[in-house]
Point group: C2
Chain length 180, copies 2
């Protein structure tokens, strides 16, 4: 299998998973009647961590879509200009690294906040919420699973872009390009 095809496939799957995560969290609402006429609506806006998840995942999906376009362009691009190819490979590598760390971090932040909604924290007098908003919490759980699948896919992309970059360097001298 060609490296560009593999990258395109991974980027496509991570874009889809990131969009799915953002949609599952963003459109998740549940309304409950608490007292006689008091209606409470649970949305992702109740927790900062879930809002961050929707924003970061949307940005990461847009970035991966742009990179997917670059994959199609670079299929027809002959890498005869070594210097510009190297520059592009470094930029892609660093952006991919930043994306995967950001997505892993926001996913874990959302997981921690959601975990508190399931268990509560009795010492801090924070009460459980998922026994009331069960359907809401199950949808968030599904979204977090998607988010971790997207993180795995992004981690594989960052390994692949590291491979594309570092194989250009010499195995003997430090940070010297190898003869082609």
């Amino acid at each position: 299998m060609d490296i560009v095809k593999m990258e395109a496939l991974l980027r496509l799957s991570s874009t889809l998973l990131l969009v799915l995560t953002a949609c599952l969290v963003g459109f998740d609402t549940q309304t409950k009647v608490i007292f006689l006429s008091t209606v409470r609506k649970a949305t992702f806006r109740d927790l900062n961590a879930l809002m961050a998840l929707v924003c970061i995942d949307s940005v990461a999906a847009a970035y991966n879509l742009l990179q997917l376009l670059r994959c199609f362009v670079s299929c027809s691009f002959k890498a005869n200009q070594m210097q510009s190819y190297l520059c592009l490979a470094w930029v892609c590598f660093l952006l991919d690294q930043a994306t995967v760390y950001l997505v892993v971090a926001t996913n874990s932040a959302a997981l921690a906040a959601s975990f508190l909604a399931i268990t509560g924290a009795s010492n801090l007098q924070w009460m459980k919420l998922c026994d009331k908003y069960t359907r809401f919490c199950i949808q968030i759980g599904g979204a977090l699973l998607c988010g971790y699948a997207a993180s795995l896919s992004l981690a594989l992309i960052s390994i692949l872009s590291g491979y594309s970059l570092f194989r250009l360097y010499s195995p003997k001298r430090f940070f010297l390009l190898k003869a082609r």
Copy 2:
């Protein structure tokens, strides 16, 4: 600067930062008299995310200490057995990747939980706690800063171990080792 020396320096600094983070969180306590005789003690055990941070950071510090020893051994090790060197490089690369993602994830989970302790979540009736336990919260904040410094150092290590591994491969053929 030699690549092994650079790696050793990064591993030493990340080990120290991880130990510092775990100690700052683990030994952070604050006692408050709430009513006439009711005494409440805040510790890292109140939040699961902080407990996870102490555990994961300790394990990651131990792993980096082992890798630091390997750095000193590999200084005197002649890499004439290509196959075993490649195998070791792959194992180190994958373990480094796993470590950095775990540390970033637990740090962000702890950050999310601590952020809730600062702001509260009025919609969920979770109250603020950091106005009562101010010194406790400031120490946790310092620990999280150390944790992110450690994450940065671990990310650099994972780039370096990717570089050491992938520069062994040919720039033209997919996953073919280059002639030495």
